[in-house]
């Protein structure tokens, strides 16, 4: 399990841009960003190399920010790769709150981010099926560890 940073943003022009600029200026490197949007506000979910440091920084600047534990699972970069992960979770009776993926065409694997209740046990179930869950040391910067 790794820490995802979540930020509450009102739907206002330039708000996302200034959030990203703030993180960039602080030397935080993002791997993935996903927005759950509603009429009034968005919830921004970010996987980065320094979630604790970034959350503290944003809070000091007056953002509503917090960290949440999520599972980051490596899935093979081929048709059906994601489906395999989800089948595995369904077999383990997992309840998925939300999911998103990131990857690049040149890589053999993509990363599936999953918010699941009781995630720790499920990560073990996935490992038994040969699916690897990323650990903090795989993505955090050395300072963050």
């Amino acid at each position: 399990m790794i820490d995802q940073m979540t930020v509450f943003l009102e739907n206002e022009k330039g708000r996302l841009g200034s959030l990203c600029r703030t993180l960039g200026d602080a030397g935080v490197n993002m791997h993935a960003l996903m927005i759950a949007d509603t009429t009034d506000f968005g919830v921004v979910r970010i996987i980065c190399d320094a979630p604790t440091k970034a959350t503290r920084l944003l809070r000091d600047l007056g953002y509503q920010a917090s960290t949440t534990k999520v599972a980051a699972i490596e899935a093979p970069n081929r048709p059906g790769g994601m489906a395999d992960v989800l089948t595995c979770l369904a077999d383990a009776d997992a309840n998925i709150e939300y999911a998103y993926c990131f990857g690049s065409p040149s890589h053999d694997t993509a990363i599936v981010i999953l918010k699941i209740h009781d995630g720790d046990n499920l990560v073990d179930a996935l490992a038994a099926q040969g699916l690897k869950a990323l650990q903090p040391e795989d993505i955090y910067s050395p300072d963050e560890l």
Binding site: L9, E10, D40, Y63, S66, T68
Partner: protein, 429 residues
């Protein structure tokens, strides 16, 4: 002083007051004559009900000094309202008026546990507003060590509060909350680290739940002080440490509660508009002044032993009452509901607009820093629960909107809780 003796004193002072204003203030001579009220005919306190009322507009019409009963030479100070909604209302004080004011507030400081040994920090604004200088004269009258901070500069307030070992704080409730939160942000625990024992808060409404929160955060007893600049300033009435209503300084003021529509007095215990007659003021006396504040007389006597009757905490104002789709709503009722939710920070703003012909109410709130908002449904669930609670308590539909931290303006004086955009370009002051 037993109530009978007090009433004798009131009657004696009332008789001379009515004659004095009739002879010295043109406005009252005209008013009394027009109403066929003979100030020399008063035989009992009940006769006061025959006198005409005074309203705020009367003070504006006689701007600046038309309501003074003494020559300007005898006036040692003036205070005035901000005047954002018209001409300012000006109130003058003779040396004696200031002494009476000091005595009223000195009693209030004692009744919440203070003494001449107290360190009394005043974070009400100083200036034309009566809060700062009113509390100041009270503190000096009692012999406290007064720290005249005025409002603002919160970090310095907190620094001195610690260094000078303040035991009593006087300011608005919203500023007390801001001071508490600022201290907590600075890494302090005011309830433990400060010597504070009581806070005398007034000048704006404070719900019971907001009071509890300030008490918990600061580790104090919060007493509600009441007053308005036209009548004197803070100290017209104040709670004792039993917190069961505000003892009115009845030796200096007569309180009446009237039905705001019929203007007839209501029995003790019933809610209505608060009306004051000032018994001791030399410069700016008022006869039956309609405050627009809604309260009631708390029946019975207080456990503290004081005989002065108690008025209840102000439940609203006849003029800040919002009429939303025909339903009367006081901002204090909305506050009462949202402070029941631990996820919500104590800052809120109500915005009223029109959508077509219909009133549309949006309630902006902030959530506490550790609220788990990672899943949208948790946010929606909170919004829905608050909306449902408002609906069942107030019978109105409110759109609840969570906004980012600190996007609702913090106030150092009176908090701006309601923005009514239904009248073109208008907003409440």
């Amino acid at each position: 002083m037993p109530q009978e003796e007090l009433q004798e004193l009131q009657l004696e002072r009332l008789k001379s007051l009515l004659i004095r204003v009739y002879n010295n203030i043109d406005f009252y001579r005209d008013q009394f004559d027009a109403a066929n009220f003979d100030p020399y005919s008063v035989e009992s306190l009940d006769d006061l009900a025959k006198a005409p009322f005074t309203v705020k507009q009367d003070l504006r019409d006689n701007y600046p000094f038309g309501m003074f009963a003494v020559p300007k030479d005898d006036v040692v100070r003036v205070h005035a309202s901000s005047g954002t909604t018209g001409k300012a209302t000006v109130v003058g004080y003779t040396k004696h008026d200031i002494e009476v004011w000091g005595e009223c507030i000195a009693r209030d400081i004692v009744s919440c546990g203070g003494s001449s040994q107290s360190v009394f920090q005043i974070a009400y604004g100083y200036g034309l507003f009566t809060g700062g200088l009113g509390a100041h004269v009270g503190g000096e009258t009692l012999g406290c060590m007064v720290i005249p901070m005025s409002s603002g500069n919160s970090k310095r307030q907190i620094q001195l509060m610690q260094d000078f070992e303040t035991d009593i704080l006087a300011c608005t409730p919203s500023y007390a909350m801001l001071l508490a939160d600022t201290a907590i942000e600075m890494g302090l625990n005011p309830a433990k680290d400060f010597k504070l024992s009581a806070a005398i808060l007034g000048a704006e409404p404070c719900s019971e739940s907001m009071r509890k929160e300030i008490e918990r955060k600061l580790g104090v007893t919060v007493v509600d002080i009441y007053g308005l600049s036209e009548v004197m300033g803070p100290g017209v009435a104040c709670e004792c440490s039993y917190q069961t209503g505000l003892h009115v300084a009845e030796d200096h003021f007569i309180i009446e509660i009237v039905d705001p529509k019929t203007l007839l007095p209501v029995p003790d215990g019933e809610w209505g508009e608060v009306v004051f007659t000032t018994l001791s003021k030399d410069c700016s006396p008022l006869i039956r002044y309609r405050t627009r504040d809604i309260s009631r007389i708390v029946p019975g006597t207080c456990e503290c032993g004081r005989t002065m009757r108690r008025m209840d905490r102000i439940s609203g104002r006849t003029d800040d009452m919002l009429i939303i789709r025909g339903v009367n709503v006081f901002p204090s009722q909305i506050e009462e509901v949202i402070t029941g939710f631990s996820e919500v920070a104590p800052w809120y703003q109500i915005v009223v607009t029109k959508q077509g012909p219909m009133d549309y109410v949006e309630l902006k709130i902030e959530v506490v820093p550790d609220f788990d908002f990672d899943e949208i449904r948790k946010i929606e669930n909170l919004q829905n629960r608050i909306a449902a609670e408002l609906k069942s308590n107030l019978q109105i539909a409110v759109k609840v909107r969570i906004v980012e931290p600190k996007s609702i303006e913090r106030s150092e004086g009176k908090a701006k809780r309601v923005i009514d955009l239904r009248k073109a370009g208008a907003s409440n002051d």
